[in-house]
């Protein structure tokens, strides 16, 4: 790229726009967001799959960069939306990871352990991880994009191309299940349908 220093100062939207004429400008977007996306993917699928998720996400994003709405300056919702689709194709892998974690008698059996998995915290986390495995995939996407991806409600709506009301209803449903899991009470049956609006 002709002027890397300038590119580093551009907004995400300006970088995507620039990559129409200078494809390599997209690499700056990668350097900006891939490390955190890798962390997000690692938490959902484990370290081994995270690199594939990041790679596929950015390749898809690059190939469809003309579709990025330049009215949004921040590309994170767009990238995390693509990543959600990529992760969604590995649904079984994700569920198996959560179940393996929930079943493991000792934290050392988990290939990539959270720092906070002291025995005491693990006792708290296991029901939560079990709950994650049982969530509807749409609810899990919303919950984890907010909790782990650090997106706002509006950004999640943009990422998943769903109404803001659906984000709220999905998050509300997921939070209730999380609460029940933490309290040790049996979870209620599947909740109502999404409430748009």
């Amino acid at each position: 790229m002709a002027d890397l220093a300038t590119a580093l100062e551009l907004s995400d939207a300006e970088l995507v726009h620039r990559s129409w004429r200078e494809p390599e400008a997209f690499a700056v977007l990668f350097d900006r967001h891939a490390p955190r996306l890798h962390r997000y993917a690692t938490r959902r699928l484990g370290r081994d799959a995270a690199e594939d998720v990041v790679s596929e996400t950015f390749l898809v994003a690059f190939q469809h960069r003309e579709r990025f709405d330049l009215g949004y300056t921040d590309a994170r919702p767009w990238l995390y939306g693509i990543a959600s689709n990529v992760i969604g194709k590995r649904l079984r892998e994700e569920i198996a990871r959560y179940r393996a974690h929930a079943r493991a008698p000792d934290p050392t059996e988990i290939s990539y352990e959270p720092d906070g998995d002291s025995p005491g915290l693990l006792a708290l986390n296991r029901p939560l991880v079990t709950m994650l495995a049982k969530l509807r995939s749409g609810d899990r996407d919303v919950l984890l994009l907010i909790a782990w991806g650090e997106l706002t409600y509006e950004e999640v709506a943009q990422a998943l191309d769903i109404p803001l009301g659906t984000v709220r209803s999905r998050l509300n449903r997921a939070r209730k299940k999380a609460r029940h899991a933490l309290e040790g009470t049996p979870m209620l049956s599947v909740m109502d349908e999404d409430c748009d609006g």
């Binding site: 990559s19 129409w20 004429r21 200078e22 494809p23 390599e24 997209f26 690499a27 990668f30 350097d31 891939a34 490390p35 955190r36 996306l37 890798h38 962390r39 690692t42 938490r43 995270a50 690199e51 990041v54 790679s55 950015f58 390749l59 690059f62 190939q63 469809h64 003309e66 709405d69 330049l70 009215g71 990539y112 959270p114 720092d115 906070g116 915290l121 708290l124 986390n125 939560l128 991880v129 994650l132 919950l143 984890l144 907010i146 909790a147 782990w148 191309d161 939070r175 999380a178 609460r179 933490l182």
Partner: protein
């Protein structure tokens, strides 16, 4: 700590991906970036597109089906002129060809001077089968860049340039023989030039050369007759000749969109052609394809951009539905999709500087 804090604490100590973690992904992205041609400036999405985009995407397929071919052509003109409301989605291969034909209307033919050249650049992928020391077959996928400088008129030399970009195992679980990997890797990045010269009045390879395409008619019926006459002389099986001939002509006529558009209309009349909604060309561009299945385990696709309906390239996809006819093959057929992607077509004044060990060949008349 509420339930959201508890969820946030799960795997909270996971570090961000390091440069080492991301090296392969970054290299893969860069390779794709570097093999992607620069695109023309596009208008920023209008508010109208953002308002109606989703409705348009959902509603159009039904409309297009009802309206038929004429409606599809009209939609294509809309897309070509402004593309304000998102792409039309063809319902079948005939509609796709109609949209592609309409899209060529605004593209002028290249008109090189007699002393100039038409330069084409493409990415080509091909599978190579090789036997390992354990007797098993392993497949390599080779990607190379191909460039051609074809003179506007006969008498000037023609240059063919090829550069192998990568050779990798098609299946990670079946690594290639080490000595072959070593030999192939030495060829990566090496530019191989072949300069062809001839004293013939007409272009060599008389049937389907760039040089001769200017004599082909653009009137559809006349073109159809000529294509069928050429197809009848091909050695390939009778049921595949017409598609193979059209595919080759479409690829070669990139410098003459007026002919390409007419070829699409001829192709729309080929029986048994289906629509593939998610086809990926050799350069990794996702498009929509018209596909012809030869019934012997291979599907031949012509891939078009989803929004502009410009021709992107062609691809052969092993389907494995049926074994090929004829005697059993000693070498198994490759399982990787192969094909070529058009990366650029332009008029240039002269040939580039030849590589140091360029081959020179004279084509007899």
């Amino acid at each position: 700590m509420d339930e959201m804090d508890a969820v946030r604490s799960l795997w909270a100590g996971t570090p961000e991906g390091s440069a080492k973690d991301l090296a392969t992904a970054r290299a893969s992205l860069l390779r794709t970036c570097q093999s992607t041609p620069e695109r023309q400036e596009q208008p920023r999405p209008s508010p109208r597109r953002r308002l109606f985009g989703r409705m348009w995407r959902r509603g159009l397929p039904r409309l297009a089906t009802a309206a038929g071919l004429a409606g599809a052509v009209a939609a294509a003109v809309l897309v070509h002129q402004g593309n304000l409301m998102g792409p039309a989605t063809p319902a079948n291969a005939k509609e796709l060809f109609a949209l592609a034909a309409a899209a060529t209307e605004g593209q002028p033919d290249l008109r090189p001077r007699p002393d100039q050249y038409v330069r084409t650049s493409s990415l080509v992928a091909a599978g190579l089968m090789m036997r390992r020391s354990d007797g098993q077959w392993a497949e390599a996928l080779q990607v190379r860049r191909e460039e051609r400088w074809v003179p506007a008129e006969a008498g000037l030399p023609m240059l063919q340039r090829e550069e192998t970009l990568s050779t990798s195992p098609a299946d990670k679980d079946r690594p290639l023989p080490a000595h072959i990997t070593k030999a192939l890797s030495k060829r990566e990045g090496v530019v191989e030039d072949i300069l062809y010269s001839t004293s013939c009045k007409d272009a060599p390879d008389a049937t389907l050369s760039f040089l001769r395409l200017h004599t082909w008619p653009t009137e559809v019926e006349a073109l159809s007759q000529r294509v069928r006459a050429v197809a009848a002389r091909r050695p390939s099986p009778a049921h595949t000749r017409l598609w193979a001939t059209l595919s080759e002509l479409i690829r070669l006529s990139a410098a003459r969109p007026s002919l390409t558009g007419a070829l699409y209309q001829v192709a729309a009349g080929v029986d048994g052609v289906t629509l593939v909604r998610d086809a990926v060309d050799v350069a990794g561009r996702v498009g929509v394809a018209a596909a012809f299945d030869d019934g012997e385990g291979t599907r031949y696709e012509l891939i078009f951009d989803r929004e502009t309906y410009r021709y992107l390239g062609e691809r052969e996809v092993p389907t494995g539905d049926r074994a090929p006819r004829g005697p059993a093959r000693e070498v198994p057929r490759t399982q990787s999709p192969s094909g070529s992607a058009v990366m650029g077509v332009e008029v240039v004044d002269r040939l580039p500087k030849l590589s140091a060990d360029a081959s020179r060949m004279t084509i007899p008349c």
